[in-house]
Amino acid sequence: MKRLGLYLHFPFCKNKCAYCDFYSVVGYDKVEKYMDALMLQCEDYSVSCEPYAIDSIFLGGGTPTIVPQKQMCDLVDCIYDNFNVTVDAEVTIEANPATVTQGQLKSYVKAGINRLSIGAQSACNNELKALSRIHTFEEFEHTFKMARKAGFKNINIDLMYGIPEQTMESFKKSLKEIVSLDAEHISLYNLKIEDSTPFGAIRDSLPLPDEDVEFAMYEYAIDYLTRKGYVQYEISNFAKKGYECKHNMKYWTCQEYLGLGTAAHSYFRNTRFSFIKDIDSFVAAIEDPDNGNVITDENYTISPSERVGEYIMLSLRLNRGININEFKRLFDMDFEKMFEDLLPAYVGSGFMDKTAVGYAFTPKGMYVSNYILSSMLEFSSEIDKNIANGKDK
């Protein structure tokens, strides 16, 4: 049976963080009708997913833990009813500290959710405040301990670097505090200032650490986490052995996933698509599919050449990099020949390593990976063609 990951988006937040550009709204008044729509959408996809075994489910947001526990558990039941979920499926829910209770966490475990991802971001309260997060580090620690008590044996902690007011010292402190909790997985994200966010508007006045310091933080973290028993397996992800996030691995290894809910992205049956970024229009389209309501936002089929580009771009995010034999087998192309003008220079300058089976970025290379990938890959003609054929806006 083919495998499929399932993502469900919960676009609600108690408060919008100043750096976040993902789709969510503040307030709870639409939660109920949205949850109903999500369940309807699960039913809609039930048939087309019949040939698939679901081995990962990711309940992401926004803040999924805002949804009342009864409704969330009903939804999880609905998923199990409509899809073939494997017994060993990884089922993750994202939680923000201070938005979740012990009872909630217990009910999640009972419903079959077996992985928790908590956004700690920093162990320094001044930095959390600068990020306009609503929690303190103490509240995070409390949530973490509750989760353990509730029975979560697989927990991820999100951490950020390059945030306002952060210094090398404060970052080291955050890392140390986080590592002492002994989570199974740590995601370490570099704060990106997006133009469309409140941070974007005040970019120049933000007290951000400079680029060299950020890179030093990144290098330090790689070294420190490795010493503490975490293995880096992707640009921003570290895990104890056997705890790599199955769901995210699907993204990076070009496997299929179905994203349900507003603004959710899918790669399903060779097509990339997303649903419209608006709760009301999404709900309307689900409730009344025949009324000319369009539910997809982007929607296009991946051509063979585009798949090659995606494969390279995504594989190189992983520490193990590109396996040139697998590449040859999948695409009948010679990776080394394709990039014979570039690879020796990247290896020679320390941006890439030649591994036993192929090529992988060094930390230095990962840190400028967009620059390098944009020299290697060409998507425009493909994207243009797809836009012409599909409904991409």
Partner: protein
């Protein structure tokens, strides 16, 4: 004088930029009811977009007006517009030679400016009757009496009863028309003598071929005649003659001595109809052409390259099309190691260069890279050979040069007195030799300098404007080459010389300019995977160095929720950005970097 000639007046309007020449022309058209105001699009004569935007006339134009005067007679007034910029002085002088009089328009608040004077002298040289007109009397700062006195004092022509008008509001325009009839002499010339015509403009029309604007001095011009361009030697059969009506060409049976009009003769190339040339008949023609013909020679050169190398043919086509209407634009293929295939182009001056660049970009939709403008240097080698160098790439090694010389100009600057100090500093800084200064009145002064043209092509005009809050005006004429201590300055990126960035500079200026260029380049070269040293060097000696630091961070940390498309679009956008870059050796440079080094004056 024939009866016909008695009712003809050939005149032009001369003025400093922005003193209202084109607006006055519009009013004259309106007042002679050649056009009703409703039919009029503002400023009919300036019909290139660029001309309207910049408020200047680039090409000469001519129009025939029918004016019913108070004496009951209808006069045929030929208004010959002149380009309003020093780059086109030669064209101005030819246009003026086609006239018998000129309206000298002076702004009632600003008074006489550099080009007022330059144009007035050209008109005097051409023996024209000058009719002063004080314009913009509607402005609060207008002081017509002061300006009239200034015209009398500075130019030396009577102005006490000259028309004071507002072309904008239309006040006193009929006065101007009256003056044209009473003050501008009627043309002379013998209709029965052999044909003698002056070409003062031409343009290419895809149906008619070249349309040639002429003033007939003697004889008659009509269809079927075999004519010869006396300087170029080209011969043609006249197909059509006529007048320039405001709405277009108006066919006539003949053009006789004293008249202004057009001819067509299936002429393919404006090069055969050069401004200033004399037309006569092949049979029974005259033997002496009109004096004053000059081949239009470029003074400023630069390389023009397509940003996208694949657009080379498009660029050539565009230049060829522009050349159809612009005999003074020169170009020939050139190759640069840095920029690939492009063209070395010669221009009459900086404005001409900017106009061509803008037209290439706007009318032909081309993205181009222009190298720093160069003048023509005269190099005498140790073996006695004399070279004229317009491209720094061809500059000989210092050891082979016995003497280097650069073109000099006589510059005439008019400025409010409070800016004299700053302008003198500027001229000093630009290696100017002070000749004299005189006060036009208590508030304004006229400065005369001898300046190297090489300094003027480096944004001298912008610097002058910024030091005088826009009030100073400049006019200049070339006076020949003078020996000078010149060196070639090379720019190295990552240790390699970039030929397109080399230029020739006076020894004393080399250090300062080298340092500035290195700084500017540093700002305009994006960070790349490796550190890029930017150096300026003379011969092998590095005189300035800057470093573009290596790129440290360019990563999408979070590939959120499986949104792969977003990441692809991001990379694609980045890739598009990179495609615009020029690869100089191993270094990627934005096209803007080439422009940035052209604008060094802060």
């Amino acid at each position: 004088m024939s009866d016909r000639q008695k009712r003809i007046r050939n005149f032009s309007i001369i003025a400093h930029i922005d003193h209202g020449k084109s607006t006055l022309a519009d009013r004259l058209l309106e007042n002679t009811q050649t056009l009703t105001s409703r039919e009029m699009e503002d400023q009919v004569l300036d019909n290139m977009d660029l001309e309207r935007e910049r408020g200047i006339t680039i090409k000469a134009r001519a129009v025939n007006l029918q004016y019913k005067a108070e004496d009951g007679e209808t006069y045929s007034l030929n208004l010959i517009d002149t380009p309003g910029h020093v780059d086109f002085n030669y064209e101005v002088s030819r246009s003026l030679n086609a006239c018998d009089g000129a309206l000298l328009v002076v702004d009632a608040s600003q008074g006489i400016e550099a080009q007022t004077l330059a144009n007035a002298y050209l008109a005097i040289d051409a023996d024209l009757e000058i009719v002063p007109v004080v314009n913009k009397i509607d402005l609060p700062a207008a002081d017509p009496d002061r300006v009239r006195a200034e015209i009398e004092d500075v130019i030396g022509i009577p102005a006490e009863d000259c028309p004071c008008i507002s072309a904008k509001t239309g006040v006193n325009i009929p006065d101007v028309l009256k003056r044209i009839v009473t003050d501008v002499p009627a043309p002379k010339g013998d209709e029965n003598a052999p044909l003698k015509c002056l070409i003062f403009d031409s343009y290419y029309d895809s149906y008619l071929g070249v349309v040639v604007y002429v003033r007939v001095f003697d004889g008659k011009l009509k269809a079927g005649q075999r004519i010869r361009m006396m300087n170029t030697g080209a011969e043609f059969d006249v197909i059509e003659v006529g007048y320039m009506a405001p709405f277009g060409l108006q066919k006539a049976t003949e053009l006789a001595a004293g008249e202004v009009g057009y001819i067509t003769a299936s002429i393919k190339n404006v090069r055969d109809t050069q401004v200033g040339d004399t037309i006569t008949t092949v049979e029974n023609g005259i033997t002496e052409p009109l004096p004053g013909f000059k081949q239009a020679l470029p003074m400023v050169y630069s390389g023009i390259y397509p940003e996208d190398g694949a657009k080379y043919d498009d660029l050539r086509d565009a230049l060829e099309k522009l050349q159809l209407n612009d005999a003074s634009l020169m170009f020939e293929p050139e190759t640069s190691a840095a920029l690939g295939f492009g063209f070395r182009c010669g221009f009459l001056g900086l404005l001409h260069m900017e106009i061509i660049q803008e037209r290439l970009e706007r009318e032909f939709n081309l993205d181009i890279i222009t190298t720093a403008p160069s003048v023509i240097y005269k190099i005498t080698k140790t073996d006695g050979e004399v070279l004229y160098i317009d491209n720094p790439s061809n500059y000989p090694d210092q050891g082979e040069i016995a003497e280097s010389a650069e073109p000099m100009v006589k510059a005439n600057i008019i400025t409010p007195t409070e800016y004299v100090g700053g302008i003198m500093d500027l001229c000093q800084d630009r290696r100017g030799i002070f000749h004299d200064m005189k006060y036009l009145d208590s508030t304004r002064a006229e400065l005369h300098y001898e300046l190297p043209l090489n300094e003027i092509v480096y944004d001298f005009f912008d610097a002058l404007k910024s030091r005088s809050r826009g009030y100073a005006s400049l006019d200049y004429e070339l006076i020949g080459h003078k020996p000078s201590k010149l060196v070639k300055l090379d720019i190295l990126l990552n240790g390699e010389v970039v030929d397109a960035l080399s230029f020739i500079v006076h020894t004393d200026k080399a250090y300062g300019r080298g340092r500035k260029i290195a700084e500017k380049l540093k700002e305009n070269i994006p960070r790349q995977l490796f550190e890029v040293p930017v150096q300026a060097a003379i011969g092998g000696k590095v005189i300035a160095r800057e470093t573009v630091k290596a790129l440290r961070k360019d990563v999408l940390a979070k590939c959120y929720g499986g949104d792969i498309t977003r990441k692809k679009k991001l990379l694609e956008k980045q890739k598009e950005g990179k495609k615009k870059m020029r690869k100089l050796g191993s270094v990627e440079v934005t096209p803007e970097a080439f422009m940035a080094v052209l604008k060094l004056d802060e």
